[in-house]
């Protein structure tokens, strides 16, 4: 089995929107596939409008065990924005698109490195 054979891979493709309309974090995520390559892009909520994060390559991983009666996949992606780095994974759980972010600040702001989760649904 190769990475191109990841189970139910195409289910994660597309544009996903945060279920929480009042989020102060990630408002949307787009997953795309180009041949055997995968990419993920995020949009953050800004003060005056959306903030487009850079599009990054992602590593697909298959789920070898059923979880909650389903088999799905995950993508690993790291966003390096200079002043911060976000190590993320995304996965589907019964139709809900889950993003988990482990954020490390690389600047001198004194902010704590932290983790966060966001839940998204497929754009209708």
């Amino acid at each position: 089995m190769t990475q191109a054979d990841v189970h139910n891979a195409n289910e994660v493709l597309g544009r996903w929107l945060n279920t929480n309309h009042e989020t102060r974090g990630i408002s949307e995520c787009t997953v795309a596939r180009d041949g055997d390559g995968w990419s993920v892009s995020l949009v953050g909520v800004g003060e005056d409008g959306p903030i487009q994060w850079p599009t990054v390559r992602a590593t697909p991983l298959t789920n070898v065990e059923e979880e909650a009666g389903q088999r799905t996949m995950a993508l690993l992606a790291t966003f390096d924005l200079g002043f911060m780095r976000a190590e993320t994974h995304v996965r589907l759980n019964k139709g809900v698109f889950v993003i988990v972010l482990f954020v490390t600040f690389l600047d001198d702001s004194g902010r704590a490195n932290y983790l966060n989760r966001e839940f998204l649904y497929r754009q209708p």
Binding site: T2, R24, G44, V45, E87, G110, L115
Partner: protein, 143 residues
């Protein structure tokens, strides 16, 4: 004080400096056992502090007994950019031909561990992930 850079407004906070050692790891430290006794992956975790760093000692299941993966240093993450409460950690075990990247978070007393297993050899094995749940062992209920 100038406004810190941010890519999501959630990160727009001003705080006194919070270093990794300032984050309370109390909830993370302990001996954790997999809630699934039939796991084929990590069966037990020991999380402890040494030299100011949070360390992770992992043991994987096998038919012949536990396999000692050894100990690695973790990176600790708080519950938010202005929080001093430890909420999880990341760690990596590098076995040469394969690598296990771990992302752990606390949820209602459980340690939820996302495992990303990446193969670096020519075996053509597909990288895979698992999520497993661990309970902290204690003697509260055995008194």
């Amino acid at each position: 004080m100038s406004k810190p850079q941010f890519a999501q407004i959630y990160d727009l906070v001003e705080t006194e400096r919070i270093r990794e050692r300032d984050i309370d790891r109390g909830e993370l430290v302990g001996n954790w056992i997999n809630a699934n006794p039939d796991t084929t992956s990590i069966a037990r975790l020991e999380v402890f502090e040494a030299s100011g760093k949070l360390q992770l000692h992992a043991f994987a299941a096998s038919q012949a007994g536990l396999i000692d993966w050894g100990t690695t240093t973790t990176a600790v993450f708080a519950a938010g950019p202005a929080s001093r409460v430890g909420a999880g950690f990341t760690a990596t075990f590098d076995f040469g031909a394969a690598e296990a990247r771990l992302q752990a978070m606390i949820m209602k007393g459980l340690l939820v561990l996302a495992q990303f297993h990446l193969f670096k050899d020519d075996s053509k094995r597909a990288s895979y992930f698992l999520r497993e749940y661990y309970a902290k062992t204690h003697d509260l209920f055995s008194r």
